[in-house]
Symmetry: C2
Subunit: 280 residues, 2 copies
Amino acid sequence: MTKHNSKPNILVVNDDGITATGIKNLMEVMQEIGNVVVVAPDSPQSGMGHAITIGKPIRFDKIDLYPGVEMYKCSGTPVDCVKLGVNKIFKGKKPDLCVSGINHGLNDSINVLYSGTMSAAVEGAIEKIPSIGFSLDDFAADADFSHTKKYIKEICLQVLENGLPAGTLLNVNFPKGDKLRGVKICRQANAKWMEEFEERVDPYKRPYYWLTGVFENFDKGEDTDVWALEHHYVSVVPVQFDLTAHHAIQTLNGWNFDHQADSGLKGKNTISAPDGINLG
Amino acid sequence: MTKHNSKPNILVVNDDGITATGIKNLMEVMQEIGNVVVVAPDSPQSGMGHAITIGKPIRFDKIDLYPGVEMYKCSGTPVDCVKLGVNKIFKGKKPDLCVSGINHGLNDSINVLYSGTMSAAVEGAIEKIPSIGFSLDDFAADADFSHTKKYIKEICLQVLENGLPAGTLLNVNFPKGDKLRGVKICRQANAKWMEEFEERVDPYKRPYYWLTGVFENFDKGEDTDVWALEHHYVSVVPVQFDLTAHHAIQTLNGWNFDHQADSGLKGKNTISAPDGINLG
């Protein structure tokens, strides 16, 4: 990536794969803002979460999919795409913005954890790049993203102008359809999937399972992403990758790990013994 | 899983695969505490993060690997193992404890995101099961886990006795070797991997890449997991799966998404328009 002008350099990634309609739409918006490099999986990688490829090598090749766009396909995960983009294309000179999506399907609430789209944006944030994941409530391969574009442009311009608080990124989700009521800053709803594994039998009489499930929201709050989306808002959740439950530290410090007579553990946690003394 | 006695029911999972030494050691400790069911990947799944299997079916079969132990192998990810265990074995009656590991290799700091071991424990916590991930600073297949066992037992007994604060789980990491100074409750260190992709060329003259890197700690705090491990403590970090950066919400509410003359967005974010009015 060579910066040709004063425009921002933008890394575009996704998890639905490089040929998805969603990333084409996102790329088009980014072309109005800056210099675009696309690095995306060569096949769909939905539900890959924060997976990285460590047990096998990764293919990474330049392709000409859309005229005039610098694009690379990658055999790895969405997070691999960010790592490769930063390391091999930008070569350590970080892009000014990393955007992921537009995902075909919502990544609200607990889905932030399962989503390759969001994990790619998290990886961008770990690299200290202002990062945003975008998702639409429509799984269709030919989903209509047109109503999302001006919001995406505005949110990206705001992030480029204001930056983001340290250690955070944005999770932006769009309702389907164009009757949007505006942008709402939200928290992640307390919701989860109620799984059901559908059992089938293969031609050789052996069982196999499909993961299916129903999304259930336990959260009555009107400040959540689930609430916002149900009420036709664009939901914007600031996300962090420090997973420490800071509020629980005090509770745990009140525990005594010297329960067992035979444990060899001395006193309360965090009390230290002199160096070299073997408490094991 | 049928509960045969008043002992707790314990789900044991990992990401290194069902034949790993680490899960055997964890299983042995858990047999001292309760009724054990093991559900683990049929192949190594390190670095799988919170990935789930949605694009293909999952194999899930009972096996007899160790005498008298109820064990299942799964073709899916560590998170799939938890979902299958809860849904197919415990059948909705949640286990009393979910333990993951013992991982061959540390999962301190930012590794909590990449780790299949930790993501499996996170999934247990999402299911409202008290959950703990255990990892040792030793990648060797024949790593010596003996010094970890009494700590693991004690931590599990404490969790069974006290429960864990809602929405949290524990990330427990062990230094290598037996000169341990006790347990220290920590926060996740601000550290990351400095990636280097090693490029090679295959016999057909095409390039491929191996992900390698160096772990770099930017955090000078003495309350972090990295610090604790370097100083021969067992590090215990309470982890949460609400990724909302709550502190950033106020900042974002100060932004004005009505920047562009042509945006169609009216006023500040969160201001609503009457239902049915199309702002798109």
